[in-house]
């Protein structure tokens, strides 16, 4: 497989579960500083694709290159350390820890066993936590137990935990699911701010939201890519209207 200038190059990726091909010979490239949105009907393989990139699921065939380094055989923690962050669909935060601790645990230092034993909360950590907390709008809730946050705030906290790692590729699975209208607006602004200097892949169903944030849209259907291009191109594509957007 040749090297490319893309941040993420997925080529001929296939994964089958008991013969069912959830992802079928899929090829996808994501550029530097690009915010890509993936849409598609349920069961199209969107979440599976993210699972494959971050190592949660192993590919049956094909390659996943991040900055020209093959990722598909690495253990999950090394994929993360290479610079790929993943947010799960339901907010996945540490409910019993404070917002501050949630962010602190995600700070990329002291990741080994003995590194974690020796880890000290110094000014660098505190500054990083505080600046991320401002970014995600939780600056005055640092001492709050994370389980007490609203659903939207939990989603933001998890995005904040990923920002602590300063990943070059950030993957978000339905970040606005279950959010109020106001929270959706704030999230759109947040994503537009944080996509500067990094690439992002976002899975989303809300078309208005997609329109607001997407640089480029990929439509998936039955494990394959159905269409790819700007929002206008994709919306005008008859095949996309047929399987997903509806008439």
């Amino acid at each position: 497989m040749s090297n490319t200038d893309f941040v993420l190059a997925v080529e001929d990726l296939t994964v089958s579960f008991d013969g069912f091909k959830a992802i079928d010979a899929l090829t996808l490239y994501v550029d530097k500083n690009e915010l890509r949105v993936i849409i598609g009907p349920n069961g199209a393989g969107k979440t599976t694709l993210l699972d494959l990139v971050c190592g949660k699921t192993r590919a049956s065939a094909g390659s996943i290159k991040f900055k020209n380094v093959e990722m598909s055989r690495l253990p999950e923690y090394q994929i993360v350390r290479s610079g790929i962050g993943r947010k799960f669909q339901t907010p996945s935060i540490y409910e019993n820890l404070s917002v501050f601790q949630n962010l602190e645990v995600s700070f990329p230092r002291g990741r080994g066993v003995f590194g974690a034993l020796a880890f000290k909360r110094d000014a660098g950590v505190r500054d990083a936590v505080e600046s991320v907390a401002v970014e995600i709008g939780l600056a005055d809730q640092l001492e709050t137990e994370a389980g007490l946050l609203s659903h939207g705030q939990k989603q933001w906290l998890e995005i904040g935990m990923l920002l602590m790692q300063d990943p070059e590729l950030l993957m978000l699975d339905e970040p606005i699911a279950g959010m109020s209208v106001r929270e959706r607006e704030l999230t759109a602004e947040l994503l537009q701010r944080i996509c500067k200097g990094r690439s992002m892949i976002v899975i989303e169903h809300d078309m208005d939201f997609v329109k607001q944030i997407a640089h480029k849209v990929t439509v998936m259907h039955q494990g394959k890519i159905l269409a790819e291009g700007s929002m206008e191109q994709v919306q005008a594509d008859p095949r996309v209207i047929d399987v997903y957007l509806g008439h």
Binding site: E76, Y77, V80, R86, S92, L117, F119, M161
Partner: protein, 375 residues
């Protein structure tokens, strides 16, 4: 004075200090030497309970085979003491003088090679600390890297406990078999059966136990402690934050094994023998009960749990020889059903709020309560 009180509250060291007073002052004054020696034996189990707090309470991984590590530590110490007790002069009536008596009974005529390091105290000590930790590392690495956890891990640790028991009993000539290693007399020429030795060993156990609690508290308060809790509740989130979850579990398992081994060695020193009945499945499960009764999230609670269950065991078995197992089971079920977080949970969730409310009422209103606290 206020500063010290605040520090105690904040660091959680108040309860450790209270435990230190109970163990080092109250018990020696209240009990005769026979009972104190029993307490010392219970405290050697408390090391295992501490390890289970770290592994099970914090790490979320239940091991039903901690007796293995307790046994390895205990046998390591017993092998050294047995060799010291088997000098050629004392054993001159054997057909091969200078080897442990059980070897002689089993027609073994020379000390096996793997026994040789246990002639020297530093090597024996090293073996007591390193071998159980190493075994835990191998089992933990093999299991946790393959994401084996929960019930499956518990069953495998039980199997290990069973295997070790069968091995010890089967290899009678090398291990003393079902009788274990008995007639242990001196440690580096120091008679461990005298009254003064029993006092010294008791206090050694107390000091080491308190040291272990301080060490575990420090680990709990470090980022590693936070991570253990985090991966217990949200394993994938920790993994996808760039941590190798398996290695953290391996660490917790090794720590628990090391603590158990120290407990085992102290058990042998105080009780004067080691046998397979302390290694197998039943004692391993009993050790889990100590932690469960005390509260699996509380280090100090685990020590009280070990003491209470063992006191109960001694008392019930002395007073109701036919019923004691049922009474023990009733105590365990009662505690776990009524207070799932054990004695420590009972204190933190019921007693402390009740006491605070009582104190608040007595001093009539928050104003005086604040004044009381400021004084």
């Amino acid at each position: 004075m206020n500063g010290i009180k605040q520090w105690l509250d904040r660091s959680g060291m108040g309860s450790v200090l209270l435990l230190a007073v109970v163990l080092a002052v109250v018990f020696p004054l209240a009990f005769d030497l026979f009972r104190l020696n029993l307490v010392g034996k219970y405290l050697s189990y408390a090391f295992v309970a501490l390890g289970l707090v770290m592994l099970w309470g914090y790490g979320g991984v239940l091991s039903l085979g901690q007796g293995v590590f307790f046994g390895l530590g205990g046998y390591g110490m017993a092998m050294f003491l047995k060799l010291e007790a088997s000098d050629p002069v004392t054993t001159k009536i054997q057909s091969t003088p200078g080897i442990p008596d059980f070897m002689d009974w089993n027609q073994i005529t020379a000390l096996p090679l793997w026994w040789e390091p246990f002639r020297h105290f530093p090597w024996a000590l090293l073996a007591i600390l390193v071998l159980p930790t190493l075994l835990a590392f191998v089992i933990g690495f093999a299991m946790f890297k393959r994401r084996v956890g929960g019930v499956y891990f518990a069953i495998i640790t039980q199997a290990v406990a069973l295997i070790l028991t069968v091995l010890i009993i089967g290899q009678q000539g090398y291990t003393g078999g079902v009788n274990g290693m008995t007639d242990l007399k001196t440690l580096l020429g120091w008679d461990t059966r005298t009254n003064s030795a029993k006092y010294i060993l008791y206090f050694l156990t107390v000091v080491l136990l308190l040291g272990a609690i301080v060490l575990c508290t420090w680990i709990q308060k470090s980022k590693l402690g936070t991570l253990l809790l985090a991966m217990r509740d949200k394993e994938d989130r920790v993994r996808f934050s760039g941590y190798d979850v398996a290695m953290f579990r391996v660490f917790a398992f090794c720590l628990a094994a090391l603590l158990s081994a120290i407990g085992g060695a102290l058990f042998t020193l105080q009780v004067g023998f080691m046998s397979p009945s302390l290694v197998g499945i039943v004692p391993s499960i009993e050790m889990v009960i100590f932690a469960a009764v005390g509260g699996r999230m509380s280090l100090v609670g685990a020590v009280y749990g070990a003491l209470l269950v063992n006191f109960g065991k001694t008392y019930f078995s002395e007073s109701f020889p036919d019923l004691w197992l049922f009474l023990m089971a009733a105590m365990f079920l009662g505690v776990v059903l009524a207070f799932p977080e054990g004695l420590a949970g009972l204190y933190a969730n019921r007693l402390k709020p009740w006491w605070a409310a009582r104190r608040g009422r007595r001093s009539q209103g928050p104003q005086t309560a604040a004044a009381w606290r400021a004084s």
